[in-house]
Subunit: 119 residues, 2 copies
């Protein structure tokens, strides 16, 4: 299957280490080695994660001499957010339904006290 934009995006953020890298870059740009030092994995493994984040467009790389400076590029997350938004009404409906249930239950008590029929 051809890896689409959303596939790469969601795949990239489905790993806790990569989410941590993004969080780390959100604070400050960093070199590959700096990132590797902050995580309990090897430099090479870190390098691979970064490559996946780049493929997803979430990280930009600026090569300055032998240093590779990584920076966060959150723009692609807009697409992810947009996709999720498509489903917002569903979970809000569910919350609304739950709210209605709770409200009805609470109202039920009062209503019962007032002698209204139940169920």
């Amino acid at each position: 299957m051809t890896h689409g934009r959303l596939d790469l995006l969601f795949g990239a953020v489905s790993d806790p280490t990569r989410r941590a890298i993004l969080a780390r870059l959100a604070v400050k740009n960093a070199r590959v080695t700096e990132l590797a030092e902050d995580f309990p994995i090897s430099l090479n493994s870190t390098s691979k994660h970064i490559k996946m984040l780049e493929r997803a467009g979430l990280v930009h790389r600026l090569v300055v001499g032998r240093d590779h400076v990584l920076s966060l590029n959150a723009a692609p997350l807009r697409d992810a957010a947009a996709w999720i938004e498509t489903y917002r009404r569903f979970w809000e409906d569910r919350l609304a339904a739950l709210d209605a249930f709770v409200t009805a239950k609470r109202a039920g008590k009062t209503a019962t006290a007032k002698g209204r029929t139940r169920k």
Copy 2:
């Protein structure tokens, strides 16, 4: 690595078939076979995808006799949305920065016309 909530969530929606299944269930609940018929993959493969969606909490299953009725449960997507929201200011800042750049460029033309120094 212990698969956390977000890992399962993002992992689940990182596959196009699974996103399609969610979209399909958003329209109407369906049985496993019904879903399998709508996609160019086998029934078994469909069953596996559904299992992953269930693990992520995105799909609920109601067993009615021999039929397994699947329904969308978008609630977990709230967590995903919340995580992404953390980064909203970054892409908005970037857009703001781009806007500032374009504005500055346009202003620059006018300014140049007015004889202001460049670069």
